[in-house]
């Protein structure tokens, strides 16, 4: 038996340790469900983009960007609604289709194609004069810092279907 008193746990220390342990356990038991409750949205899995019909047939898409409005069924927790989204759709040089999300990458206003006489053949943002070339790439020295996002798309029975808008990295 050790006679070294220093290594012995005194009654007071023992009680301190056990009470801290039990108290910590109880506090954790109370907090854990609440914290998990609060961060639930962060841990929701990314649901893959569902495609919805843009109600435009492939033949009607030309090389000139065209404004296409389409409806998305949006589920916001307990609130379900139909939301209108907009895409600018055209055929690129190689014939492939591209659908641009008009949300300005500066502060989120909506850009329009060719609608400002000072900036022909550009996507123009009226809020702070943001500019993008036809391929949606931001023009340097205007406010936007990244190209316009691109909608996922597919053609089914000759009809254009659009999915999620995927942001593009800084050019």
């Amino acid at each position: 038996m050790s006679k070294d008193k220093k290594n012995q746990v005194s009654r007071r220390q023992f009680l301190n340790y056990t009470l801290t342990g039990v108290g910590g356990f109880m506090a954790a038991g109370m907090l854990a469900p609440m914290v998990r409750f609060a961060i639930d949205p962060v841990l929701q899995p990314d649901e893959g983009g569902e495609f919805v019909s843009a109600k435009i047939s492939e033949e009607d898409i030309t090389t000139e960007p065209k404004r296409v409005a389409f409806n998305v069924e949006q589920v916001d927790a307990w609130y379900e609604s139909t939301v209108e989204k907009v895409a600018w759709v055209y055929k690129q040089e190689d014939g492939s289709i591209i659908a641009l999300d008009p949300t300005c990458t500066h502060l989120g206003c909506f850009v329009g194609w060719n609608d400002n006489e000072n900036y022909p053949e550009h996507f123009y943002c009226p809020c702070h004069d943001g500019l993008y070339t036809k391929d949606g790439v931001n023009v340097p020295n205007t406010p936007p810092t990244a190209p316009l996002a691109v909608y996922e798309h597919k053609i089914e029975n000759g009809i254009l279907y659009l999915g999620k808008a995927i942001p593009r990295e800084e050019a």
């Binding site: 961060i39 949205p41 962060v42 990314d46 949006q74 916001d76 927790a77 609130y79 502060l107």
Partner: protein
């Protein structure tokens, strides 16, 4: 009569020392505007507290009519302002007070800064003050969404973009605030409401208590 009630309570629970600790102390001459008018700069801290009390009271009364639901929030604010007696005044107190409180807080901070009152031994209270400033800004920010009008919605969209631009945790931080990766909607409103009405006021009370206890301990800084 009142004296009798007071004595009756005091005899049993000895409240006089508590009262003395809280309120019974001399106001030093150099902070009294009656002696030196320029001492009005010392009032800004108290004015900040005063406006905060208005915010808390008017906010408590607003929640009697307000509902944090995207279908009804705007209507409930419209109703409480247009239809309820004195609704315009109560909402007005909260609406304008939210700006006035920031102005007072700022003036108070300026006074402390330019008088060097933050120096030893009051560094800790400066830190608590900065935290109070952040909590107050956060209250203004979360309250701004609650009327759920266009201005509120777009201001919040910008706010969330700012949160998103934080390195590494930005994306998660935004979802945590908005309740959804893309939508600023039903969950955003309930979250902002909870934060505005419960979480931040709780933090505010704790910080204010610390602030005031430290002031009583250390006293107000001496004349320049």
């Amino acid at each position: 009569m009142l004296q009798k009630i007071y004595d009756w309570i005091d005899e049993r629970v000895d409240i006089t020392p508590i009262w003395r600790d809280i309120a019974d102390h001399e106001v030093p001459e150099h902070v009294n505007p009656a002696h030196h008018f320029s001492a009005f700069v010392y009032c800004f801290g108290g004015l900040t507290f005063f406006v905060t009390v208005i915010q808390i009271l008017s906010g408590m009364f607003l929640t009697m009519y307000y509902v944090p639901d995207i279908e009804n929030a705007w209507n409930s604010v419209f109703y409480l302002q247009q239809e309820v007696a004195h609704g315009q005044i109560v909402r007005g107190m909260h609406h304008w007070g939210a700006s006035v409180v920031i102005v007072m807080l700022f003036l108070h901070t300026l006074r402390v800064f330019f008088q060097g009152a933050y120096k030893k031994p009051r560094e800790l209270n400066w830190i608590v003050g900065v935290l109070l400033f952040f909590v107050m800004l956060a209250l203004g920010l979360t309250g701004y969404l609650l009327p759920w009008d266009n201005k509120a919605l777009f201001a919040t969209q910008v706010t969330l973009q700012i949160a998103e631009s934080v390195p590494f945790i930005g994306e998660d931080l935004k979802i945590l605030l908005a309740g959804d990766p893309e939508i600023v909607g039903a969950q955003t409103l309930t979250r902002f409401f909870a934060i505005h009405v419960f979480f931040l006021p709780a933090a505010l009370f704790a910080l204010m208590a610390t602030h005031f206890i430290m002031i009583r301990r250390q006293g107000i800084s001496g004349p320049l």
